[in-house]
Subunit: 249 residues, 8 copies
């Protein structure tokens, strides 16, 4: 049921084909969320530039390709995260324009060329092993129409490499920081910039890193007040949140 | 907004005082859950016999008494769980009919004398220390209009005490089992009866009992298929779920 | 030892072939549970319609087929959960009537066509990845003689999809809710219905989902009082408990 | 060392009182961060409207008052979180303008009347017990020059109360959601709005809530992509991050 | 129902006052565990020398005294563990012969002077803080009629103190080892002796000792094959198991 | 340095070739444990009947065979636990007498036919999946010269199967109980017998069984006082401890 | 048995009062560690400057004073950690020279004025709340005869404060770093210096800091290779290890 | 920017080509860490003898070889840890001098023959399964120019094997101790020596060893004050820290 059918209801009442009581009764049995159309326009605006997203892990190449092709028809950007080469090959056969972003393990097709972000999103990673997660954030933010700058391998044990990029970092509207092991980098970055920092714990490390739990807990306890955290290895989520923030900027 | 005001809307349209388009527009801006009235009667039936509940822990005597008195005006049964003597005294001054159920640490006032349960709810506890939680379940079930039978101190290390009550247990429509320490009792009871068993881990124990976590985990892994579990020390929840089941019986 | 042999004992005493003291002595050495026969009929009634169940995981196709065939001889419904295609093929060769329920990863043979449930069991899942667990619950409930209705992909981040099914949900006698990740769905469903909700945490998610532990803990802390919980991915247990409840309805 | 002293160094070189080599040598031994003054202006802008903050917990009334009075001299807003009545009384004697925000357990003095936020910050709480944390976020955001709207006691088990505020929520630039127990609310709110959601797990609950850990883990696994998380009970952090985001809006 | 009443049943059948069928019917309705008398003598033998035990923690002095006095009437040894001075004073008024074992925090009355143990039980503790738990084991074993020798403050960081007692240790029939912190002592002792070692983790330590969990886990992983473990601080359990073993020796 | 060389030292002193002071000096620099030979005979007695043991997991067939063959030369029983068919084949080529105990996944060679146990060791398992661990205990106990009786598939959800074996269980000198999932069986068995019970948690189960951790914690909290616990899946350790106890019996 | 008695043994052999065989036999039955005297001198050297240490927590003032006074007689430095004012007052009455180090919560008496350290030990703390732990390390190191320099409140969120002390830090022989919350500081310091870093997690923080566990895990995963870790709040241990290292320097 | 360019700046000011104010302005915009050159020489000294290190795990043979070859050009020692045969073969083709240290799973090339250590580093392992981790420590220490002595298979359950090496151990300047399972060895070793002990938990064990977590926690709680701990299986880190300490010795 949509606006049209409700209007129709009123018109029938107007025409006398339906008594007000009968109309109330009909309305009573409608799934109520159909009346939520009032929000459609509003949401449509908010959702402009949001890519369609597929979580690739655990899907067969055939499944991935089928879903990707269907979503690609809507004219929006499409992103398949955690996808491998085989999944990409299957997608490529159905969607010519699809590209594989190797480092990010992502398949993308970009249909919407518009820019939605107001400033720059900085993506920082502690070590080279964190790059896949960082790149997932980069790809997500780019597909959501943002300018992205990245700073890799600037972990806290070699603080000078990070500090060398301080100027550039302070120009960003929002900063994403990916780190595994002890997860200390977001606190240091948080202290250097005056904007929101989205921390992404990664599953990089061994032993007592517990597949990213140690980094996650560290980030939750950041002594920098401008840090909030997303799930382990959730580069997509970080890119998504950062993009929403950057639209405001 | 309620059914009446929507009917009013239709009547205005009928009268011609409002065009269908205008009516749609008005509807569009209503908080949509106001249209949920269709469910009121249905829910009212479902909610008959449900007590009003106050979680007493952390509330001052004054706060408890105030809330209790307000709820007691609606003519429904009222239950304050995890309440101490001081809270009861404060309540008693405002609500004469209130009673204190010592073992259950609960304040109750029973306004609705009807019986809602179809069969008997059995409440079983492993040790004497589990009794407060078990009694919370008993009180809750009684206030929800059920006949309750209890079997205390029948833990698995003295299996004969439990087995001596097997006949009685098999007559119940639903069984609540409260146990701390290793939390083994629900599995044994589950094997003896053919009805749903609600397991309540208690925080009884020390050392590696981890305030009930060990019992909780044990119950989640019950080798009896008719067991489901509620939170640690949640006698109220168990009594509530059991009462809902017993209404069906 | 059964009723017959005990009767024989009394008859020997009657005949004088055995003194009362000798009879007591003989009784003394019998495994006592042989006297439990008094409960047999009672239990038989309770157990009517209960399927024979095989936990398929970790069993070879040959083992699965052998057990399945043996159980299928009793004229009861047989259910093998967590079974793959190879196991099914092996079973199929021995039990012609066996069917494979792909989504549920279950092998079933239905011998008992009777209906045991009084109302409808609703099975709800948060995401598409939760469907295998949900389907295991569905198959279990169906094999136990219940009418089942399912509502998939109605997770809390798109609350309107769930609300669109509110009417249907409120008609169920008992609701099973399967969810991974944050495991929030049972609380929302619990608030919408007035019947028992069986929550099943699933191992869906990554990072801090800890293979379903996060969902399990969330469900244990549900703010809806009508929720109880079974083990992670335990669709079978949920279907079993729900079936027991539905027999009462 | 500051800009002035470096200028002095150059002047001495200009005058010939120091050779370039000697100047380099002197510079070599300066603590290098003294050269960081280049960022002062930039940071000052960023830091405008940032309150001075005291973490009150564990501090004596005397300590609190002393620190508060010192910070209050700078003309900036001052905020003492997790402070009790005794701490407030001590502060009040030294800083006349100080006020106690009871619900938030915060002492504040507002010196800077400017508005820094571009839109509205919405603060949502699941239950009444979450209000102290929510109010800490409210106070923080207000002291950082934001307009704040709050929506309390709208937990997921009574989803209609939340939905009744949907319109209002969608008008916010950023939403803070505080919830204990299962921590499900941020996911539902995240699905309703198209802006960043800051989730604050609270230590509300008992048993398997583990002082907020369950809520924290649930929020980290939110199925809504616009959710990021701060530490348990960290209302201040949420208010701080939200204020930074709102400045961009 | 006991042996006598069953004999009576047979006598009635013998007398013709009851047909065999009627007798079977009567038997059928008896709680079956009443037939467990066959084991009484056997168990009585096993249970000779077992003290009556009260877990003192959480009980009021009045409660403790009442239970203690009741149990003390049976002529068996009585042991109240985790009891303080106030509880002892209350007990003392009712049971003259009661004694307080300060170090063990135990109240005891010894009625049964017999010796049940075949050899010596050695009780070893790592540090002085572990002594209360060790003494609980000592008291328990003594009350169960064993000769006990103790070796305190012989932790692994001063291995020579332990080794100085090697000869004495190797003469024991069973060894109890109490240790907190890293819980390493049972492994070393296990390697020195050829008899069963009962390890008791204690809650001694701080930080990452997690109230004894670290010691517990360490002991579970002992590289000595003759070690088994009881709960944290469970000196009573260790004394009990050791006493059972020593009876065999 | 051995007894001979020390004797030599004394002889030199006797001969006058060395002053007492010089002898003391020489002794002072000897690794002191060389004087530990005094214990050899004593230990040899204790160690009689102890098998040589190889932990097979992670070893190649070649490594296993080489170690096995070397140990088999000493005339003692040899046991390789957690060994597969390939390892057995490699061993068999070198040690003709070696046998493979399929259920226990153990390779054994029995050289010492003597009996060392005084009574019977009972080995109990909850489910069929626990049998490999139970059998490891059986094989270990047998190789250490004990008579072993086993009781499998007698889990607590079908308590009658366990009770049917009560008589037999009470005849054992020591009981080993293997159980996964909720690990409840040792408590029930502990209540039925008056002898030491060695509990072995197994990694059987899924979801919240956490590879045996839940069973381990449950067993640590057993409400039966005669239970002590060994590591998860440590059938060998249980068999070893039980054998030591049974030697005393 | 000591050197003297062994010499006596040799003398008896020399005199002919004992045959070499008899002497060997006697030696055979001596507790072997009595022969450990050979190491006394060696150890004495190592132990020079080691203070006598009392762990004050949980001891009464009387107990603390008694132990302190006894140890103070040996002429060595004495240190009581985690001691409060009352304990100090009791000590002071018995040991005039005792001093209370307020910040470190330590009672000390310095008898040995010698310097044992070769270089400087730097003690760094992240926040002001970490100072008690840091001061415990300082006092320990000072009592062990070291020169100590401290750098407080130089946490990673204000990295410039740390960097301002870089020069000073690089002059230290060994660095102790105390930090709670996310525990990031040791990694940053580790990257700045080329010497061993001893990391001390503190229990500072709230929520997901888990009383220091998060900091501990973070430090274990430090990306700086020169970091090793001691227990939570173990300032004493850090000071002790650092002192041992500094003696080598 | 380096010293040269700063000197250039001063020279320009000297020449009058730049006013002091302009110079300050230029300096203001330089990335400040470029001024850190003052430390270069100092650091160079500290870093002499430090090998270049590659973490081999997860890298392809091609990647490993490429990085190894590049680093090998600098004339320093190169170490690839956690490397397998395939990686070595790839490296060998590019770097002739590379050797494979089988037990340590390490590829090394030694270019710098100098000795940097002052004393001996002792490496101790509990069991044979800990040897790979121990050997990683050995190789690391050797490549950093140290003399290393190792003591393997001296676990605490056979304490005499450890004690037999006491003399040798006490000669070391620093001791590394690797142990899995209960991780008790560092405490015992710590008590025997008067020098720093670096403890390395290994992932050796099963069940409740939790891949080394149990050993790690045990080591953190060591009752020996001279023990500090590195990450699970982190032989490299232990070797690195020990080498730094040994340079001081």
């Amino acid at each position: 049921m949509n606006a049209e059918s409700i209007r129709h209801l009123f018109q029938e009442v107007r025409r006398g084909g339906l008594s007000p009581d009968e109309a109330v009764e009909r309305l009573r049995h409608l799934p109520f969320e159909d009346l939520g159309f009032a929000k459609v326009d509003h949401h449509r605006a908010l959702r402009a530039g949001m890519p369609e997203v597929i979580f690739g892990e655990g899907k067969t190449p055939a499944q991935t390709a089928q879903i990707f092709a269907r979503l690609a028809k809507h004219g929006k950007n499409v992103l398949a995260t955690r996808a491998d080469h085989k999944q990409f090959e299957a997608v490529k056969k159905k969607v010519r324009a699809a590209e594989y972003r190797e480092l990010a393990r992502a398949i993308v097709v970009k249909r919407d060329p518009r820019s939605y972000g107001k400033g720059v999103i900085a993506v920082v990673s502690a070590g080279t092993s964190d790059i896949p997660v960082a790149e997932e954030a980069v790809v997500t933010a780019e597909l959501m129409g943002n300018e992205v700058e990245h700073f890799y391998d600037v972990g806290v044990a070699g603080i000078h490499r990070l500090l060398a990029n301080r100027e550039a970092l302070t120009r960003a509207q929002v900063v994403i920081v990916c780190a595994g092991m002890e997860g200390a980098l977001p606190s240091v970055v948080g202290g250097l910039v005056g904007v929101p920092v989205i921390a992404v714990p990664t599953s990089v490390g061994y032993g007592a890193s517990f597949q990213g739990l140690t980094a996650l807990l560290g980030m939750m306890n950041s002594c920098a007040s401008n840090v909030s955290v997303v799930n382990i290895d959730n580069g997509f989520g970080a890119g998504y949140v950062a993009s929403l923030i950057n639209r405001l900027g």
